[in-house]
Symmetry: D2
Subunit: 405 residues, 4 copies
C-alpha cells in the first residue's frame, strides 16, 4: 500500500475525531487512532472509544495501557524532584505527554509510519511537549498538528465539519470548561475561569469534595506513608505499588476536599493562563516527600536542591523531558535520594494535608544536638567562634561604610 501511515494520539473527543477525518482529507494517510490509558476519567469506556475511531474511518485503532509505566517511570521522578512548576503546579499533563510521545514513536517504528499526530491547540503547552519530545526521540519523524493548522477556529466550525463528514457529535450539553486528566490529577480551564477575579464555581471539580460542603468528613483522618530511596512504598504499613498507592491517595484526598490548586501560570508560549488543578495524590506525596527530606537532607543539599527543582520543573513544563539537562538533573536528584527512607504521618481534614510526624533511620535531626534538655551534646563554646568568623566580612565592611546601607 502506497498510502503513508500516521499514528494519532486519540482521545475519543470531538477534536481528535475530527482530526481523523481531516488527516485523511489533507494528508491522505492511514490513521492509526491510539488511545493511551494514563488513568483518565474511569467513566469512559476504552473499547467504545476504539470502535468510534474505526467508525469515523480510522485505518486502525488501539488502546495502550500506560498506567504502570506512567507511575513508575514518570511520576516517580516528579516525586523525587518535588516537581512543582512555579512552586505550585505538579506538572500533571506535562508528565504524561513525553510518555505518550514515546509510545507514538514506538508505534510509528513498529508500523513503519512516517507521521505522528496530536490534537493540541496552537496556544497551549502540550503542542510543544508533543513536538519537542518527538524531535528528541526521533528527529526524522514528522509531527502533524491539525488543530493548530486547520481553519476550524470555533466550535461551530468544528461541529459543521463533523456533521458534513458523518462524525458523531456529542449530544450531551458540552461542559463549558476544558478538562485534561490522568491518574496524577485533573486540570480545568476556560469558560468562566478565564476571569481570574471570579471564584471558581463548585461544578468544575470532579475528583475532590467541597472542603466546606457536607461530603467532606468532620473528623480528621491520618495516614502513614513509608518511603524507600525517595519513593513511597506503603500506605498505613501496607506495601503497594506506586500506581495503587496514587489511586488510594486520590480517593482519600478527594474525600477530604484536598489538593485543589488555583493558579495563574506562565505558559511557555508567552501568555498567562488561569488553571485549576485537582491533585490530591500529588499534594500528599510531595508534602510527605519534602517532610522526609527535611530530616534526611543536609542543609547545603536541601538549599541547592530547592533551586535545582525549579529548573527541573521548568524543563518538564517546557517539554524538555528527554533533554540532556533533564537527565543530568535526574542524576543529581537520584544521588540525593539513595537513603531517603522513612515514614511520614499526614493528617487530612477539610482541604488540609498536614504533616504531623516524620522519622527515618537516616534522620540528620539529632535529638542530642537539638535538645535544650538533659543530654545536650552541642558545643556552645564553638558558637562564639563561629559567629565571629561568620560576621567578620560584615564587620570589615561596616568599618569602612559608616553611613550604613
Amino acid at each position: 500500500m502506497a498510502q503513508k501511515t500516521c499514528i494519532l494520539a486519540y482521545s475519543g473527543g470531538l477534536d481528535t475525531s475530527v482530526v481523523i477525518k481531516w488527516l485523511q482529507e489533507h494528508y491522505d494517510v492511514a490513521v492509526i487512532a491510539t488511545v493511551f490509558d494514563v488513568g483518565q476519567d474511569k467513566t469512559e469506556d476504552m473499547t467504545f472509544i476504539e470502535k468510534k475511531a474505526l467508525d469515523i474511518g480510522a485505518y486502525g485503532a488501539q488502546v495502550i495501557d500506560l498506567r504502570e509505566e506512567f507511575a513508575n517511570n514518570y511520576i516517580s521522578k516528579a516525586i523525587k524532584a518535588n516537581g512543582l512548576y512555579e512552586n505550585k503546579y505538579p506538572l500533571v499533563s506535562a508528565l504524561s505527554r513525553p510518555l505518550m510521545v514515546k509510545h507514538l514513536v514506538d508505534q510509528a517504528h513498529a508500523r513503519g509510519a512516517d507521521f505522528i499526530a496530536h490534537g493540541c491547540t496552537g496556544k497551549g503547552n502540550d503542542q510543544v511537549r508533543f513536538d519537542v519530545a518527538c524531535a528528541a526521540l526521533d528527529p526524522s519523524l514528522q509531527v502533524l498538528a491539525p488543530v493548530r493548522e486547520w481553519n476550524l477556529l470555533t466550535r461551530a466550525d468544528e461541529i459543521a465539519y463533523a456533521s458534513e463528514h458523518g462524525i458523531p457529535i456529542p449530544v450531551t450539553q458540552e461542559r463549558p470548561y476544558s478538562v485534561d486528566d490522568n491518574l496524577f490529577g485533573r486540570t480545568i480551564e476556560c469558560g468562566i475561569l478565564e476571569d481570574p477575579w471570579v471564584t471558581p464555581p463548585e461544578d468544575i471539580f470532579g475528583l475532590t469534595n467541597d472542603p466546606a460542603g457536607p461530603d467532606a468528613p468532620d473528623t480528621p483522618q491520618e495516614v502513614t506513608l513509608t518511603f524507600e530511596a525517595g519513593l513511597p512504598i506503603a500506605l498505613d504499613g501496607e506495601q503497594m505499588d506506586l500506581l495503587t498507592l496514587i489511586n488510594a491517595l486520590t480517593d482519600i484526598g478527594g474525600l477530604h476536599g484536598c489538593g485543589r490548586i488555583d493558579m495563574i501560570e506562565n505558559r511557555l508560549v508567552g501568555l498567562k493562563s488561569h488553571e485549576i488543578y485537582e491533585v490530591p495524590a500529588a499534594v500528599a506525596l510531595l508534602t510527605a516527600h519534602k517532610a522526609l527530606e527535611d530530616i534526611c537532607l543536609d542543609r547545603d543539599t536541601a538549599h541547592f536542591k530547592l533551586d535545582l527543582e525549579h529548573k527541573w520543573a521548568e524543563l518538564v513544563y517546557n517539554g524538555l523531558w528527554y533533554s540532556p539537562l533533564k537527565a543530568a538533573l535526574d542524576s543529581f536528584i537520584d544521588a540525593t535520594q539513595k537513603t531517603m527512607d522513612g515514614e511520614v504521618r499526614l493528617q487530612y481534614f477539610k482541604g488540609n494535608i498536614t504533616v504531623c510526624g516524620r522519622r527515618s533511620p537516616y534522620a540528620l535531626y539529632d535529638f542530642k544536638l537539638a535538645t535544650y534538655d538533659e543530654g545536650d551534646s552541642f558545643n556552645r563554646d564553638a558558637a562564639k567562634g563561629f559567629i565571629e568568623i561568620h560576621g567578620l566580612p560584615l564587620r570589615t565592611w561596616s568599618s569602612l561604610h559608616s553611613s550604613g546601607l
Copy 2:
C-alpha cells in the same frame, strides 16, 4: 561615674532577669534593661516588667514601642520579598532581631554605653542575629551574651542562682515549651516537640484555634486585600496602616485555625530543629502578595525572583539583615514592586487560606490572549515557528546521540 553601662534587651522572663544580676556580678556594669514592644503577648504588662527590672537591680529600665517601625520597615520588606526560609518559615523572629539591635545600638550611643547584651542561648540563631547586626551597625560596641557564657546549664542552676540573688522566680508552672512571639507570629519549640514523630499537642497553640475543633467557624469567610506598590493598604476596602492590618489578619486567621506551620528547619549553627509557627497574618499576606505577583510579574522576573527570594530569606535568617547583599537584593525587589497594585480575595475556612480572585490594572494576564473563545488575539501561526526554534538544540543533540539518555 566610672562604672560602664550596658544596654540589655530585657524580656521580663527568668533568663534575662538572671542576666541583669550576672552582668553586674561579672562585668560590674550598670544595666539599662530595655523592653522592646514588638507586639508580643498582650497579656504581659509592660510597666510591670519595667518595675521588675529595677527591683532586681537594673540601673535603669525602659519600654520602647517598636511596633510601627517593625511593621513598616521590616515586615514590609519581607512581604515584598515573599520571605520564607526554606520555602516555609516567614522569618518571624529573624525580622525582629535586627530592629531590636538597631535600638540597642541607638540607646548605647545615646547613653554612652560600651556594651549591649542579650539573653540568647548558645545554640540558636538569635545569638548570631544579635551579634552580627551589632557588628554591622557599630563594630566598636561589644556584645555580651551571658546565657551563652555562663555555667548555669540547667533550669535548676538558674533557679538556684535566682533564689540566691533575690530574683523573683515564676510561681506558676513553667510551660514545657519555649515560646517567642511578636506581631507577625509566634514560635513554639522544645519539650515534647523535640520528638518530630509526635503530633504537636493542641495546648502549645496560642494564636490559632484548632482547625478541627469547635471554635473554628463552619462557614467560610472571605476578605479582600488591596495592595499598592507591593504592600497591603486596605482590608475589605477599608484603608489601614500595616500594623493594624496585620493585627486584623492575625485575628481572622486565628479564628479559622489558619497559619500553623510545622517544620524541621536547618539552623545556621549546623543543626536541625523542630519548630511550630503560628503565623496567620504572614500566611495570608504572602499568599495574597504572591497571587498578585502571579498576574503582574512577567515570567522571567517571576522565575528569577523565586530563586532570589531564597537567598533573601537565607540572609535574613542568618542574621545578615544589614549586609550589602541584603541591601542589593532589596533594590532588585523594590524595582519589581513599583506597579504591584491590585486586589486579592482570600477565603478562610478551617485551616485553609485560599485565593479565590485577583485583579490589577497592571495584570499581564490578558483575556484576549488567554481565551479560547471569541476575541482570541493570540497568533497560532507563531507557535509553530517558536516550537521549531525552541526544540532545535534538542533536535540537533538527538541526531547525534541515538542511544537516548
Copy 3:
C-alpha cells in the same frame, strides 16, 4: 501624502541598500534611511553613505551620532555588570541594538512613521534584538525585516536584484567574512570561520596586531585606571569621559595584540556559531573592574553577583534590554557599585592584559587580617569554633552513612 513612512536602520552596505528598494516595491513606503554612528569603522564616510541612500531612492537620509549615549548609557551598564555572555563575549553588538531601536522609535514618533525596518538576517540574534526592543518601546509600531522575508537567498540573487534596480554594487572584492563593529569592539564570522577546527587566519583582524607578530611591542606597557562608583573616570591619572577612554584603550590594547576572543556561542535561535571578537577595551575594562570588585565587594555579594551577571548577560544577548527583569538586575548591580572607587594597574604585553595592582579606600582587603606578620589582628581562637560548626552537618551526616559517598 497618503504614503506611509518607514525608518530604516541603514548601514550603507549592499543588504540595506537593497532593502531601501525592496521596501518601496513591496510596502510602498517612504524610506528614511538612518545611519547610526556607534563608532564603527572610521574609514567609512558618513555623509557619503547618506548620499548613497538618497541616490538609491530613499525619501530621506540622516546620520545620528550615538557614540556618547552608547558609552554612557549602555556600555557603562555592561561594565558594572561585568557583562559576558557565556562568561566570554562582551556583548558588543547586543549593547548597540537596543540603543539603535530607541532612536528608530524616537524617529518614528517624530516623523509619524508606521514602520521601522532593519536589514538583519533570519538566523541571527540581531533580528530578535530589533524586534523585541521595538515591542518594548512601542508595541504599536510594526517592524519590517526584509532580509528575513525576501527570497534573495544568495549573494548572487541580491546582486542581480541590485543591478536590476540600479543599486550600486561594491566593486571591491567582497571580504569573505561578515563583520559588525562599534566602539566597544568588532565581530567577525562566516567564511573559513565556519569550520571551528581551523585556526582563524590573521587577515580577519582589524583592530588588533598579531600578538606574535612584529607589530606587538617587545616591552610591556602599564596603565592605571581610576574608577568611581564602578565606572572608569581616568586613564593614567588623566580624567576623561568614557567614550574617549574606551577609544584610548582600544588603541593600546590593539597595539599589544590584546582582546581577541575566539568562541563557539549558543545563539538565541537555537544554533551554535563560531565568532571571533576583537574587544581590547572591553577586556581591559572588565578585567580592571573585576579586580576592583575583588577587593571591594564582600564575599556574599561577590558570589551572588557572579551568577546574577550570567542572567544579565543572557537577557541582553537575547534582546531583552528593555525588560523589567533587566531593570531589576540593574537596580541590584547599582546598589553594589556605590562605593566601587579605586585604582587598578594593568600590564599589556603581547596579547596579555594582567592586573598587577589594585587599591581602594573601600577595600575590604585588610592587611591586619591578612598578614602573617606583626600586627595580625585575626582571632585564631575563633577559627576552631567556626570549623566545628561549619563541619557539624557533615559530621552528623557521616555518623549515619558509614559506607561513604
Copy 4:
C-alpha cells in the same frame, strides 16, 4: 604500649618539625610522620625528609606516593567540573587536602591511632579542609592542630623552640614567601604580596618563565589535546595517563610563561587574601575542556552547568569534598560528560594559551545550521514566529507600562 598514636601530615619544614616535638610534649603521643607525595617540588629528597622526622623523635616515618590517585580521582573531577573558585582559582591545594586526609584516616585505622594532626595555621582554609574531611571520613577520630593552638606566634618563637628541642633550623635564608605546591600547581603568598597594590616580584615564581623575559620562546607552540568522556587522554596524539599529561603540560606552559594567576580571594574564614598561583597545566586543561564543552554541550546544560560549577568549586574550596552535595554535583557533572569526546588545539605564546581549533564526533555545532553559505538548513521562517512568542511577555508588559522602565 599505653601511649596513643598520632598520624601527622609531615612536610619536612620547620612548622611540622616543631609539631612533632610539640605533640610529644603536650599530648604524649607516638607521632607517625607521614609525608605525602602529591608532586610537590622535585628538589626535595623524600627519604631525607623521612630521616629528619625520625631524628627529631618521631616514632615512625613514611612517604606515601599519592600522585596517581591525586591525578585520577581528584584533579580529574576538577577538570570535568571546570573547577575555578571565584571563576579564577583552580583549587590546587583544595584538591590535595581531602586526598591527604583520606590517607591520614586510612593510616589511623591501619595503625589503631586515635589522632591525626596537621600543621595548618589558624587563619587559612587548609585547617578547615583537614578538620572537616576528617569529620566526614571518620567522625570519631580527633584532629590535632598544634600551629593553631600553640603560642609560638612569631617565627622567632618557633626558632627558639626548635633550638631548645634540638630541631634542625634551616640554615639557608628563608624565602620571604609562603609556598604550597603539588603537581597541579603552585601557590605563593605573604611577604611583599600582602600589599595588593605592588607588582609581584619575578623571584616568587618557580614553575613559569617570565612571559616578557628572555626564556619565553619567541615562537608560538601548538599542542593538541584529545579528550574522552571529559578527560584528556592524549597529547599531540600520544596516549598518556593523566599524571604524565599534567606534568607535560606544566613543562610546556611553564616554558611559555603561561598559567600565572594573581588574585584577591575570599577565604572561608571571612577575610580576603592576595594569592599568586602558577598553574600552567590547570589553565591549559580547563581552557581546552571548556572549548570542547562549547561545541558538545547544548545551551541549557551549558548555562546551568556554569552556575553549578561555582557551587562545586565553592564546596571544594570550603573543605566539603566528601559532602553529599559535592557527590550529587559530581553525578550531575558525570551525566554531562559521557560523550565529551574530541580534540582541542591550543597555542602557547608568551603567557597566552589560546584555543585555535576544536572538533568532536558529538559536536552540536552544525555547519549546515550555522553557515550563511550554500547548504544552509536553518528555517528562517520559524524565526519570525519564534521572535513573536519570545517577545510576547515583554510586549504585553509594555502595553501596560507606558512610562518605560
